[in-house]
Structures are given as structure tokens and as C-alpha cells.
């Protein structure tokens, strides 16, 4: 069962990464317009040239 000594920290670390990503997304205002973003991803306006 020594493997638990590695697995638990690893799983917590991975979960923590997810949490950090969530916090980053929240801070960079990615939850401000959920409805618009769901449409935006389908638009092909900036497919060839990225938005300035």
C-alpha cells in the first residue's frame, strides 16, 4: 500500500491544477458572458487571422 503515499499527493496535485485553472479563468473574466461565448466558438470570423 506504499503506492498510496505517491498516489494521494499526485491526485491532489492534479485536482489542484484544475482548481488553479478555474481560478485563472474566473480572474480573466471568462465567466462574464457564458451565452455569448457559446455562440462565439462557432463563428469563423477569426479562423484565418487572429483577432488583433
Amino acid at each position: 500500500m506504499e503506492i498510496l503515499g505517491y498516489l494521494i499527493p499526485i491526485s491532489l496535485f492534479l485536482g489542484g491544477l484544475g482548481l488553479a485553472a478555474f481560478v485563472w479563468a474566473l480572474r480573466s473574466q471568462q465567466f462574464d458572458d457564458p451565452e455569448g461565448d457559446s455562440h462565439r466558438i462557432l463563428a469563423d470570423d477569426y479562423d484565418d487571422v487572429p483577432r488583433a
Binding site: 491526485s11 491532489l12 485536482g15 482548481l19 478555474f22 474566473l26 465567466f31 455562440h39
Partner: protein
Amino acid sequence: MAVSAPISACPACVAAPGAEDLAAARDAKGARILLSMPGVHCAACISTVERDLARHPGVGSARVNLTLKRVSVEADASVTPEALIERLDKLGYEALELDPGVLSMTETDRQGRDLLMRLGVAFFAMMNVMLLSVAVWSGAEDATRDLFHWVSAAIALPTVAFSGQPFFRSAWAALRARRLGMDVPISLALILASGISVYETIHSGHHAYFDAAVMLTFFLLGGRYLDFRTRAIARSAAQELAALEVPRAQRLMDTGEETVNVVDLQPGDLVRVRPGGRVPVDGVVTDGTTEIDRSLLTGESLPAWAGPDTVVSAGEVNLTGPLVVRVTAAGKDSSLHRMADLVAVAESARTRYTSLADRAARAYSPLVHVLAFSAFLVWLWISQGDVRLAVNIAAAVLIITCPCALGLAVPAVVTAASGKLFRKGLLIKNGTALERLAEVDTVVFDKTGTLTLGAPEPTNLADHPREALQVAAALAGASAHPLSQALAQGARAAGVHPAKVDDLREVPGYGVEGRWRGQIVRFGRAGWVGATPRDVTATYLAIGDAAPRAFTFADRLRPGAADVVEKLTAQGKHVMLLSGDVPGAVSELAQRLGIADWRAEALPQDKAALIMDMSAAGRRVLMVGDGLNDTAALAAAHVSVSPASALDAARVASDIVLLGRDIAPISEAVRIAEKSTRRIRENFAISGLYNVVAVPIALLGFATPLAAALAMSLSSITVSLNALRLK
């Protein structure tokens, strides 16, 4: 419980002062323009609008927010909002300028992000603790179990301390006010569950409730967040409406004209009111003649003449000529404010409505505490003083009964329903408005501006010879008066070309005069052209010395008016028309729409009194109105709706605002409200059922952390799914 807490009773009041401060700040910077676009709804709209705005010279970037239906534009100081609005108008989108100051995202957004952060942390902790718990449930023993409990504790305790704060805070506030809200048993369960689990972990016990504590936090925070979002959207839309109107006036000074805030005006000041503008104060006309539209104040659809020494009140609209008004009362003393006092009286008379959630919480909180405490005492007695066992069982009872489903039942349904209504153009301003709307059995409509648009249309064009029509069209085309405009438009639609009339001259307050084939022709008020006035809205045409002809007008129906009356009647509601206008106009409209019960010439006090009488007689009244004269009645009614075109005071007094021009969604709203109240009751029944099954198990001491976790997630998920069934 948070669901029942009202939204700020007067969103506009909170927003208005900020509007003025920040307008000044923006003038200096001139960088960011915020437009409200009620019409954006699709993916194509986003790119069309953004691309087109970016092409406007001076515009740096534009971004559409589809959730809030707004576009924010970064631009040079040279770009004016008007230019952008015009541009969007050409694309076919209605746009309105917003004051970015009022809508400062700061407070609301900060709160929303704060809640979302706590929710995210609780979710992370729940998932991890759950993984560890699965191992314990499947039979981990001794040192392994203790290790898992310790790791769970390390995750759960900080999470409960951080994510549970909203509950602890509101529970503390409730206790200090000597109440037992929903949050007191929640907080108690969280603290007790964490405490007993730590104790058990230290003593190598079998059961730890860390998973239950975190799960409880997550589900309840979910309900809290839904509730917050619904309200934030409602509040931001209400602020948008307020931001559209910053009360300003043109004050005449010795040195010239200056724009001032209405609150800064003193009695004795002179203000200029442009044609088409709203009179900002109570006063007496000192210079100029015109016609004024009093419909918002009195419900009269017929414009009244105004000249020197006529008394005018704040809220009236100047139609034709410029006016100079000497202020007799401004701000607190004006008739607008006296009306606001009337609203305050009516509101205090309104029987306080207790929401379903409140009623549930009131029955639930004491019951839970009594159950948990008696379980503690009984087990203490049975086990002859085993405090550890007794506390364990009491904690299990608290956790199992804890209102996950109750906390989600209302917010989930209200979110689903108000989202649906928002898409139909109805903005729910008040948390309990839906429930109250569901109880309505009588619907009272105001006439002018509510069932009608307050915009006239000619009714007897066919009765006149073509020549008279041509002259009338020519004269009418020279004036901006609503009746003239309506006639000119009607004539154009009928294929009538205006005759050639020379020396056209508008006489403000009376009409238009000109010369046609050598004869003087006049088009305007009855007295001025020498006609006897009729009792319907009309203007008169005199050609030379011939007998004057009357052009009659009827108020144009608001789209959906006939539909909404028909549908409400079909739903078994009693429909009534209540207006301040003359009997002729009211009875004509009542007949046209098929409303049997109508009353005319009702003063504002009469309207409010009538509504209160009906309420006293046990009726639940839905009042739909837009004018200042309806404000007290709106506040007195069980629930009230006003169109977005209504005066600020009326919108503030009403629970629901109709954003579009079409009034038909009201009947739909009543249907959805009835449905959603049924769903809320169903949800209460479902979570009650879970408790009936789970509580005896907990009381008998058979509840394991696994049972608690199962009961909690099952009931929460069922309740949320039931809410989504709303159609």
C-alpha cells in the same frame, strides 16, 4: 432564506446619484461607450455588430455581451454614441445609450465572482473527498482509514471555512436578530459535522462526515449562486432602464442657457422646455404657447392647450412650441414626489407577502432543531451517558434533514422561469413576483400607454373629399405635433399627395396655417379654426369660409393588446379597464377589445382605492399600467407590470417590466408563473418525501456517511431535474 430577500425596492434610487457623478468622469475620459441592445440574440448578430462597429472611424474595438445584451466600444473621444446608434439602426438593431458609471460592474460582479470562486473550491474539495470516501465505504480499515480521514480533514476543513462563509454570515445575522432562518440549521450542521468528524478521526472512529459537510456546502452554494445570477440579471436590466433617464433641465440665466440637474433647481428659476421634451418641474408658463400631453399624469389622451399662466406639472410632455417655465416646485416638493408619497402609503398597506420558501423555512427550522436535540437526549438516555454516540446521531440527523433540496427547489425553478420570461421580454424585478403572479384572479389594465401606445391614428380619412385630404396632408406635414404626424402618415399610406400650400406657418399651441389657391387654410384646434369641438380626439380643417371638417383619431392599440385580453379571459381571469381618460374614449376601447368592465375619469387616488377595495374583498389583482397616475395603484396591487416606456416612478413601483412593445407576453407570463409555482410545490414535496424516508433511519442510528451522501445527492438532482421540466 436568501430567495425571499427582496431586490432593492428601488433599483433606480440606488443607481441615479451615481449616474451623475460618473457621467462627469466619463466626459473627461471619453473612451468607453456602452450601448444596450435588446435585439441581439444570435451568433450571427455578434459578428455583424462587432465587425460593423469596428469599421466606424475612430473605433478601436467593440465587444458584444450576449448574456447582458450589451455592446461595449473602445473609441476615440471623437466618436459619439449617437453616431454608433445610428449605424446600428441601419443594421436593424435598436440600441440605447447607457451610462457606464451607473452600470459599474464593480459591486455585483465582485459578489458574483466571489460566490463562483467559493462554489469552485467546494466542487474541487467535494470531488477529492468523495474519492477518498469511496475507499472508506468499500472497507478500508485501521491505519489506512485513519490516513484517509486525515487527508479528508485537511481538504474539508479549510473548504468549509472558506466556502461556508455566506451561510455562517447570514446565520449569524439571523441569530442576532433573534430569528431562525434556513441558514442557522445549515451552519449548525456544517459545524457539527466537521467537529464530530475531527473528533472521530482523532479517536480512530469508523464514521467521518467530511464528505457530507463538503457536499452540503457545494449543493447549497449552487442554489445560492443560481439565485444570485437571476437577481443580478434583473438588477442590471433595471439599472439599464434607470440609466436611460438622467433628469436634466435647461436653466435660463442672465448670461445664457445652462444644463443643470433637476435637483439643483430653485423655485423662481426659469427653465426652457423644448418641443418634444418632458417638463422637468412643476411651474407656471411665462412665455410661449403650445400643446401639452398629460397622458402619463392623468391618462387623458387629448393634448391640452398651454400658454402664459398655465400651470404645468413635472412629467408632462411639451408637444409643439418652446416654453419658458417659472419653477414653483422642484425636487422633493414637486407633484412627482407627492405621487411618490402616495406610493409609499400604498406600499405600507400592501399585505406583506410571505414566499413559499419562507413558509417552508419557518416550518422546517424549528422542527430540525427539535428533532436533532431530542435524538441527542434520547440516545444519551438509551446508551446511559455515551455522549460520543449521542452527538454522532444528532449530527447525522442534522445532515440528513439538511435542506439541500429545499435550498435548490426555489432558485432552480425561479432561474428557469425568469430565464424563459426574459427571453419573451419580461423582466422579473422582485423575487416573489412569480409566486404572486400565479395567484392572480383579476387583471386591471390602464388605457393610455398600456393597452394603447399613446400614439394616435386617423379614423375617418375616408369621409373626406380628396381635395380636403390633400390640403390637410400638406398642412400636417409642416408640424411635429403627434396628431399632425399621424395624419400625414395616414394620408401617405392612403396614396394622397399633399397639395401645394404657400406661406406655411405653425402657430404653437393652435395649429398650422397656410394659403391654398388664394384662400387661408387652417388646421388645428377647434376654437382656432372656428369649429365646435367633439368629444373624441380630433383636429379640424378650415378651408376659407367653408364649414370646418373634423379629422378624428383613435389611440393606436399596443401590439398584442387584443390577444392578451382574449387569452386572459380564456384563462378565467376577470379583466377590467381603468382609465383617467374621458368616458367616450374608454368605452370605445373597451368595446373594441371586448372588456365588459370599465371605468373612466379615475383619479390616481381612485385607482389605488379601487385596487385596495378589490384586495380587501379577497381578490388578487394584477395591475398593468404605465403612468404616474397608475403608480399608487401599481404599488397597491398584489402584483404589477409596467411597460419599459413607462415613467421611472411607475417602473420602480411595479414588480415586472415589459421590455418589448408587444403586451401579449403577459398572458404567457401568468401561465408560466402558475406552472413554476406548481413545480416549486412539487419540489418541496419531493424533498419532504426524502426526509420522511431518511430521518427515521438517522433517528434510529443507522445512518452512515454513505447513506447521507446518497440521500443528499439524489434529492438535489431530482429537484433540479424537475425544475428544468418547466415549459
